[in-house]
């Protein structure tokens, strides 16, 4: 983790991209200048009122010219609801960039993301470009896959899956893996999404011997290593701090 910044700043844009998901752009020069794909920010939702804690949100991209960062968030509870109510030009405090991001040295990476797990992968895809990136983007229904066009801008190939088959292949983002892995020779897999999905991805990666990185989520109080509440189990006993040693881990390091 490099230098972290606590920026008291402004919302540039906060607009819905579908029924429950929002796109937010925040003016944050220091964070934008230092962010790597896979890192996240802690965003204030209701400064020291209820709910109390800042919310962890993956950085989905930076605009170095506008000195801003972008995030995508789904409204799932009070904190994200309050975020969604904030207006353009409203003040917000945001802390970042936090955690360790992805290692992006591969020449032929495969990105696999489910739901909001696609947010950090978008940034990874942008950063990897012009190296050819392939992505599997999974969601519950078509409605969730506003991601498609975003990834198409920066990826060589975008595979879409939906639980209900309303767009792309019917199934989860794990479904296309078998055929993709047997067809192409990827030299890295980057995954972000729910734990059962990560488990399945890691199994594939191991059987094809492809180095795999996973990005985890845990409940966090501070986001920068001070509280020890965001633990995940090390493969060899003891705990990692997800916010500091993660959120991106090499597949073999952590118990999923």
């Amino acid at each position: 983790m490099g230098k972290k910044f606590w920026q008291e700043t402004q919302i540039v844009e906060n607009i819905p991209v579908n029924t429950d998901t929002y796109y937010m752009k925040i003016y944050a020069p220091d964070i934008a200048a230092n962010a790597n794909p896979g890192q996240f920010v802690m965003a204030e939702v209701n400064m020291l009122q209820a709910p109390l804690l800042n919310r962890p949100l993956g950085i989905a991209g930076v605009d170095k010219r506008q000195k801003s960062i972008t995030i995508f968030y789904r409204v799932v509870g009070k904190g994200t609801y309050l975020l969604s109510q904030k207006r353009k030009a409203e003040c917000i405090r945001v802390l970042g960039p936090l955690g360790n991001g992805f290692e992006l040295k591969a020449q032929r990476p495969l990105l696999i993301g489910g739901g909001m797990g696609l947010a950090p992968l978008l940034f990874a895809a942008q950063a990897t470009c012009p190296v050819p990136v392939e992505v599997i983007a999974g969601g519950r229904t078509e409605n969730e896959l506003f991601w498609k066009s975003l990834f198409e801008e920066v990826c060589q190939q975008v595979h879409i899956t939906t639980d209900d088959g309303s767009l792309g292949t019917k199934g989860t983002c794990v479904s296309p893996l078998a055929s993709l892995l047997s067809k192409n020779k990827f030299d890295a897999m980057l995954a972000c999404g729910p734990i059962p999905m990560l488990r399945a991805v890691v199994e594939y990666a191991q059987s094809y011997r492809i180095p795999c990185q996973v990005s985890l989520e845990e409940h966090m109080a501070c986001g920068f290593g001070a509280c020890l509440t965001c633990t995940c189990e090390k493969q060899d006993g003891g705990y990692f701090q997800v916010c500091k040693q993660g959120p991106v881990f090499r597949a073999g390091e952590v118990k999923l």
């Binding site: 606590w6 020291l48 209820a50 109390l52 501070c222 509280c227 509440t229 633990t231």
Partner: protein, 311 residues
């Protein structure tokens, strides 16, 4: 106000610990200080109470460790720490560069644990020892010592005998009469008391019918508990002569001032650090402005000055 004027208003010698401000980072919420190096101006950090230490390294509790509650949080970290040796040999040399007093928060399951850890600190350059007899998140010991005047005094006495630095005893709020326990540890030689640690709480997930936290119960902290903390600080300040360090839900200068008026000679800031990593500096500055507005020269002019006569 310039820097010199501010430090003049806030400097204090607390039970032998010389501090630039009376605002200390609370144990378990301020890491070892390092985590805050990007954010704080160390000149306004009165001291660091480091994450609770034990003789041996501890992994802490399994499962979920944090839950949000109305205006508060509950944690069950369970004293995850690298053990006192690693602290003394590796961490302490790194954090001494901040030139702010390092207070070592010590924990044990038995009196022998407390004795051993104190002895292991004998050669270490630390400013003080905070004896935590109030951690609600470990299966054995710790809080058990803090809820009984006899055992609280016993631990205090043994640590005081061996410690080379001032000894602060951290009290549990989960008791009927906190003043009685404060008096017991005072009599046993404590140089100061700090209070409150977290209130023991619990939350149940109505989806899974399981406890939300991995350790079933957890320690409640944050603004929600502030009224209880102010009350207890007020009760203890009247009962003992040693300095009282107040904490529990402090998240603004006005909160800190409430604790000073109640009788606290210094305060610690805990949960609020997570929400605003610069909060301790903001509290120090806010305190100076308040003093200036009220024509006061030093924050000690607030200490214990609650006016209880004739509402």
């Amino acid at each position: 106000m310039n820097h010199a004027a501010k430090t003049e208003m806030l400097a204090v010698n607390l039970a032998g610990i010389q501090m630039r401000t009376p605002i200390i980072g609370a144990s378990g919420t301020f890491g070892n200080g390092e985590e805050y190096d990007d954010f704080v101006d160390w000149d306004y950090v009165g001291g660091i109470s480091v994450k609770g230490l034990t003789v041996e390294p501890r992994n802490g509790n399994h499962g979920r460790r944090i839950a949000e509650t109305p205006a508060g949080i509950m944690n069950c970290v369970g004293l995850q720490n690298p053990g006192i040796e690693v602290f003394v040999n590796e961490i302490l040399p790194r954090i001494r560069v901040y030139k702010t007093p390092i207070i070592v928060n010590i924990n044990g399951n038995t009196v022998e644990d407390y004795i051993k850890i104190t002895e292991m600190l004998a050669g270490a350059e630390v400013a003080g020892i905070e004896v935590n007899i109030s951690c609600p998140n470990t299966k054995h010991g710790c809080m058990a010592f803090g809820v009984n005047p006899g055992s609280a005094a016993l631990v205090t006495r043994e640590v005081r005998k061996r410690a080379k630095v001032p000894v602060i005893v951290k009290l549990s709020p989960n008791v009927t009469d906190i003043a009685e326990i404060a008096q017991a540890v005072e009599a046993a030689g404590a140089d100061a008391v700090s209070l409150i640690n977290t209130l023991l709480g619990m939350a149940i997930d109505t989806k899974t019918w399981k406890p939300v936290l991995g350790n079933l119960t957890g320690g409640l902290s944050g603004p929600a508990i502030k009224p209880v903390a102010v009350r207890m600080v007020w009760q203890v300040a009247q009962a003992v002569k040693i300095p009282v360090i107040g904490l529990g839900g402090i998240s603004s200068a006005l909160d800190a001032i409430e604790f000073f008026l109640a009788g606290a000679s210094a305060v610690q800031v805990g949960t609020a650090n997570f929400v605003n990593p610069k909060i301790m500096n903001e509290i120090a500055c806010g305190l100076c402005s308040y003093l200036e507005e009220h024509d006061l020269q030093h924050y000690s002019q607030l200490v214990g000055k609650i006016n209880v006569g004739g509402n």
